[in-house]
Symmetry: C2
Subunit: 218 residues, 2 copies
DNA sequence: ACTATTTTTTAGTCTAGGCTAAAAAATAAC
DNA sequence: GTTATTTTTTAGCCTAGACTAAAAAATAGT
């Protein structure tokens, strides 16, 4: 059994090595967890002792198969609970992350099995992220960032990179949610900003906005 | 905000002072929490500093109004989650206590409000215990222990005192659940054992069994 | 009332998981 | 290739929450 702190580290390392390949640095972990590098080093050394990850001094950490299993189980729980909160309790997609951050640590395999069934074994969470199955396998969607599209290309929103309430509320205001079609009408190469069309509306988006929205090109 | 350990102490003290009136001893707390008296003393002193309880050295602890509020909120969460697990996920009543022990610590007032609505604002949990409302008020049922009944009296099962899987499984085997009518056919005053009638079955129960079943006399 | 026993608190130690400051290694600049 | 800078680790300290052993208070026995 792993402690709350250990589970949070494992999950963070898992997410970090999804984006960048190779070992993840203790600094990157500390940054991502809002803690200090020295704390991350301590924890990484402990997790290496427990064979959850491999760690080479000054080189960084990499989850073992064992570590990945643990991580995907936590991610599965997080995302299933998010579906529960939105689908069953009527929460809005910008309100569920913090609560799921706690619920993901409830230990009971039977619970997660039954929750999954209760929810109809969903494949995606409310933010468009795939839910790993009981073996840790999950769909790797072919998705791009909106910022990677060029003028006159279009895509369908399939998820968000950031899921802060502020960002999700912005998207709501602009009537963008999962499944929404977006046309790129113009792109400014100087700062990466765009003019996009959503439904009947046309408006300007900054690079920061476009950098956090995943789309599937059509 | 209170830590996991603090919350568990507060809840335990709340339950202890439900049964016995007056201050609860650090030893009673330690016993009930499966820890040592010295640890209980430390925690009680800390909770006294936080005005969660009043504490007089060598005399024991008593929750303040503030402490009782915290306690009933936790109890409310525990019991609502138990209802969720049984009613929505199909768990059996002997499987839910441990899981609810974790779920009761999830911090979100919005969550508990929505969960309550989702469940139809239940008044009792799967073990027959009343669920406090959002203000901490709950029904104080007029219930006796089965062991308090005498020969030829009868009652309806309204709850259990102990909710260990072993005990609940015993009750299942004997077809006793909430709402079941029980007739006392005989009582042995030497050891408190009884012969009872449940449906068409008649059988012997020890004092230990009868001491953990709540009934409402009819 | 005095002693013996039980209950409760205190003192001191341990581990998990943080932190800061200093040291060491890796990387970048010349 | 040496020096300067950045990254990473180590050393030492802190708090929460446990524990054991010893001390102190309360209670019981005579
Ligand atoms: Mn978490
Ligand atoms: Mn999500
Ligand atoms: Mn608990
Ligand atoms: Mn219960």
């Amino acid at each position: 059994m792993y402690s709350l702190a250990e589970e949070n580290y494992i999950k963070t390392i898992f997410h970090l090595q999804q984006t960048k390949s190779g070992a993840v640095s203790t600094n990157a972990i500390a940054d991502s967890m809002d803690t200090k590098a020295s704390s991350a080093t301590d924890m990484v050394q402990k997790l290496a002792d427990k064979k959850v990850l491999s760690y080479v001094k000054y080189k960084g950490a990499q989850l073992t198969e064992k570590g990945k299993k643990i991580a995907t189980r936590i991610v599965r729980k997080h995302r299933l609970w998010e579906v529960f909160l939105v689908d069953k309790l009527g929460f809005h997609w910008d309100e569920v992350h913090e609560i799921a951050e706690q619920l993901e640590h409830i230990h009971s395999t039977e619970l997660i099995k039954r929750l999954d069934t209760f929810l109809g074994s969903p494949a995606f969470d409310p933010h468009g992220d795939p839910i790993p199955d009981e073996h840790g396998n999950f769909i790797k969607t072919e998705k791009k960032l909106l910022s990677q599209l060029n003028k006159s290309q279009s895509g369908v929103c399939v998820g968000v990179k950031e899921s802060s309430p502020e960002y999700l509320q912005y998207l709501d205001k602009k009537k963008i949610s999962i499944g929404t079609k977006i046309n790129v009408l113009g792109k400014e190469f100087f700062d990466g900003s765009m003019v996009i069309e959503v439904g009947r509306d046309q408006f300007f988006v900054s690079k920061k906005i476009a950098d956090n929205l995943y789309v599937q090109t059509t």
